[in-house]
Amino acid sequence: MSDFTTWDILRNLLLAARWTVVLSVVSFVGGAIVGALLLFMRIGKGRAGPAFVKAYVEIFQGTPLLMQLFLAFFGLGLFGIDVPAWLAAGVALILWSAAFLTEIWRGCVEAIARGQWEASSSLGMGYVQQMRYVILPQALRIAVPPTVGFSVQVVKGTALTSIIGFVELSKAGTIVTNATFEPFKVYGIVALIYFCLCWPLSKSSQILERKLNVAHRNH
């Protein structure tokens, strides 16, 4: 049995943090794609689409991510899909972040003044054209800060995948703790690494938000 130096601890945690980063990126990008599809269903015409998305959001925002991970992990397996931990983690995180992103973005679309819809209607544009040329470009701008802000939640959410056995930063932390008997140090470092990943995101979200508010005031 080998002994861990502080450098070993740090090195192993940083190596595991790569998985945290990969998982975060996958979840966020995947969540954004699924979230965008849901957004179109949600704000589109028709009745079934919006109702489905409402229920979807209610379920994914109304249950713990931890349970979603468990169900993805054990549930998918039941359907004969061989799910490695990373796949279950990815699927659950994607579906989870999609629910939040969809709601964030819906708020942004709805924040666009009614006058923009009416002006573009009165110029003869159809629904898709209005969306494409008038509403979305504006919604996208105001959506950037809260979206970046949410990415912090995704990074932190990946910590829960440790519980279905995926060895990312948190899991590595528990494993290393067990091999070194230094929980204070190890969890301290783990927290620090998370902070280094998340803080730049939080900060840039705040800065973007401030910029946008200033821009708004200039109108």
């Binding site: 006058g115 923009q116 002006a119 009165s122 110029l123 544009m125």
Partner: protein, 241 residues
């Protein structure tokens, strides 16, 4: 045949009947002022003509074509009738020039070069040729409203609907917008405008419509309507100002 024929138009919001049977015929080149108290249904009428609201009863036809509430008919209608709003409603993410170009390119599929030429021309017409590359938030309210007019004109409508287009402007900016409208009128554009500018209505309009509680309460040339109001409601309304 009139250019715009409004016949027995009714519109309800829930229990609230806002238009109770409106009849107006607008001849080509006419400039019509619509006046009336707040809540009398002026905006609603304009919005119905532009298809922003569907009517519950009656009919509206523009240049002989009936207004039907499906996408194709609506689009055809809106190509004929432009609308300008109190709040300008410029697209804030586009420059003045791109605001004017957008609908041409998207709706009429005008090639970019042509659309740009048209945008230049229309901005010149409202006196803003030099603001082609300015964003809306770099323009004064009066300038923004003139861009909105240029944007509507670029679609080459046969009539323009204006809903209190100077109400959101500071007093010193009102005239620059009214001057543009006056010029349009003198060039023969058909105009329907809701306005509180009585002097302007008197000087420029061919007819004045006084709306009251969802009905056309009085209608006639401005000389008559302003000088000899026949109903006590109109008298009171004019006295209030």
């Amino acid at each position: 045949m009139s250019l715009i024929e409004i016949t027995e138009v009714k519109k309800r919001f829930g229990d609230n009947e806002v238009l109770k049977g409106i009849n107006i015929d607008v001849e080509p080149g006419e400039v019509i002022a619509i006046i009336g108290k707040s809540g009398s249904g002026k905006s609603t009428l304009l919005r119905c003509i532009n298809g922003l609201e569907t009517i519950d009863d009656g009919s509206i036809s523009v240049a002989g074509a009936q207004l039907l509430p499906d996408e194709i008919h609506l689009k055809a209608l809106r190509l004929k009738v432009g609308m300008i709003f109190q709040q300008f409603n410029l697209f804030p993410h586009l420059t003045a020039g791109r605001n004017v170009m957008l609908s041409q390119m998207v709706v009429k599929k005008t090639p970019r070069g042509e659309a740009e030429a048209m945008a230049k021309k229309m901005l010149e017409r409202v006196g803003l040729g030099h603001k082609f590359d300015a964003y809306p938030d770099e323009l004064s309210g009066g300038q923004q409203q003139r861009v909105a007019i240029a944007r509507a004109l670029a679609m080459q409508p046969i009539a323009l609907l204006c809903d209190e287009i100077t109400s959101a402007l500071d007093p010193e900016l009102v005239n620059e917008v009214l001057a543009v409208v006056k010029e349009l009128a003198s060039e023969g554009m058909t105009l329907l405008m809701v306005t509180h500018e009585m002097r302007f209505a008197r000087d420029v309009c061919s007819r004045v419509v006084f709306m009251h509680q969802g009905r056309v309460h009085e209608i006639g040339p401005p000389g008559e309507v302003f000088a000899e109001p026949r109903t006590p409601e109109l008298k009171q309304f004019l006295g209030m100002l």
